[in-house]
Amino acid sequence: MLRQISPARPDWQSAVEAIGFDFHSFDAAPYWREEAFWQFSAGEIDGLEAAANNLHRMCMNAVAAVIEDRKLALFGITGLAAELVSESWARRDPHLYGRLDLAYDGSGPAKMLEYNADTPTSLFEAAIVQWYWKQALSPASDQFNSLEEGLVERFRQLLQGIPSQDPRRHLHLSCILPNLEDEGNLKYLEACALDAGFSTTRLDIADIGWNRQTERFVDLDERPIARMFKLYPWEWMVKEEFGANIARSACQFLEPAWKMILSNKAILAQLWQMYPYHDNLLPAAFEAAEIRSTAPLGLVRKALLGREGANVTIYDADGGIAESRDGSYGDEGFVWQARARLAKAGPKATAVLGVWLIGDQARGLGIREADGLITTDDCHFVPHIFS
């Protein structure tokens, strides 16, 4: 695993815009960064794929255990949220995708940092933008990327056995608009769903209607929403006004409500309890004291529901704060995780590897670099190849 420097295409902005990547820069700072790329060996990629598949399997076992052992309260999941989680799991509501964030620098096993299982983004960059970059600059190389095939295949599975006139063949896709990044991810998923045979409607999550007569969520044409992909956190939905309608709406959500368990960082403590000292896990617990002796590099405190690096504090081995990010999360509690060694992307910069799960299968890799230790929404997406 090597970080290689290579000149960016002189016309890289127009090159990526030509394939629909209109959120390549934020506030004039490039988010897409192609003056470097990561090079892997085939063996390293095989290892990452196997690690992600294993971790996902362990995560699914953990979901079952958390529900069966009635541990949802430890995750801050109570009341309506707990009902939705348990019901969706009992129904085996299907899931679409997720991104496992791994710490890996080419030495030793990859370690799970967290699972973005509910509202992962950077999918379009991983599936399309870095693929076109590779085709343009290094067509003979390979890339851990069968994301599009995986997504279309997964959407086809979701259509299996559903009759032609059934409203479940129509997928509504929703996020907060306007937001170039979220919308870019949404449009890409919509394209994959269309390819698989769905008809689709995209709408702002605030435009979703509730028809109290038919007890259905409806779109702006008052068409009922039978299936909805929502790029919007479950824990927000359940506490909002329409949250109480979800259970009787007969709407099937992607991701399903049970993903609330996996996107919650309490899962890290649950996994460590179920699979202690597993090669791909970092020690994690609700109390720092429980894992301090197994954390030679220090500890990290993460808000259970934190997103985009918010409310994360990294401590050195001597207890001093190495880096900390504020945010609006944390009321729901925190979990402690042993600090991992991250791949170095510069004197201070680090890289985190996001392995994408489509359905239950690892299908691709996207790498994000941060200027410091915590990967936030200021990070950069950097392409990769393997050979």
Binding site: R99, D101, E114, N116, T119, P120, T121, S122, P163, Q165, D166, P167, S174, C175, I176, N179, E181, D182, N185, D204, I205, A206, D207, I208, G209, W210, N211, R212, Q213, T214, R216, V218, D221, E222, R223, P224, L231, Y232, P233, W236, M237, K239, E240, E241, F242, G243, N245, R307, E308, S328, D377
Partner: protein
């Protein structure tokens, strides 16, 4: 006779003509013929084989023949658990009967009959209802078919006439108040999702 069997026997072509009184005929497997008579707000459905019997029977429910704009109006009118149950069952069966309600390929054609804003996509009301548009259910009524209580959705055309089962109801009497000349939006509220993101400085969902 089950209500499902009733639905199978009463077929409703898209309503283009209004008639009162009205007869709809269809033949089921048994050769059973349904006569539909609508008069003075009372829905009377009688099988040929036993129309005498149905005429002589006491009504299955004291609410029979009454029209309600919604479930709440029916419940307000109900005395006793039996009628409360009848209100609820009636409401849900009227909703199910929407599968047989008139429908149109174009919203404009539907609105020509029922008025602007009073038509909705068919599949927003009837699960798996396919394409097209249909009028909004403005209320429901209870009637009698062969001694069995039956329930029908009531529509209101752009002239303000109440319609049920493809026929105009003369002298409709709404118990607990007539429906407002409502548009579909009266049943739909929006903005119930998204408030958390709006309240905070939302940048994106990525992790």
């Amino acid at each position: 006779m089950t209500h499902a069997a009733l639905r199978a026997r009463i077929s409703h072509p898209a309503v283009t003509a209004l008639c009162s009184p009205c007869r709809l005929q269809s033949f089921g497997k048994s050769g059973f013929m349904v006569l539909l008579t609508l008069m003075s707000g009372t829905l009377l459905l009688a099988g040929c084989d036993d129309h005498k019997k149905s005429g002589g029977q006491p009504p299955a429910s004291a609410q029979q023949g009454k029209m309600y704009k919604d479930l709440d109006a029916c419940l307000a009118d109900a005395t006793g658990m039996e009628q409360v149950t009848a209100c609820r069952e009636g409401y849900h069966q009227a909703l199910q009967q929407m599968a047989q309600a008139p429908h149109y390929d174009q919203r404009a054609n539907c609105e020509d009959v029922y008025g602007p804003g009073n038509c909705v996509p068919r599949d927003s009301v009837v699960p798996g209802g396919g394409g097209g548009f249909m009028p909004f259910m403005m209320g429901y009524m209870m009637g009698n078919l062969g001694g069995h209580t039956v329930y029908q959705p009531v529509f209101i055309d752009r002239g303000g006439n109440a319609l049920a089962n493809g026929s105009r109801i003369s002298n409709p009497s709404w118990s607990g108040g007539a429906p407002a000349a409502a548009s579909p939006s009266s049943a739909v509220t929006r903005g119930g999702f998204g408030s958390t993101a709006t309240a905070g400085a939302h940048l994106g969902m990525g992790g």
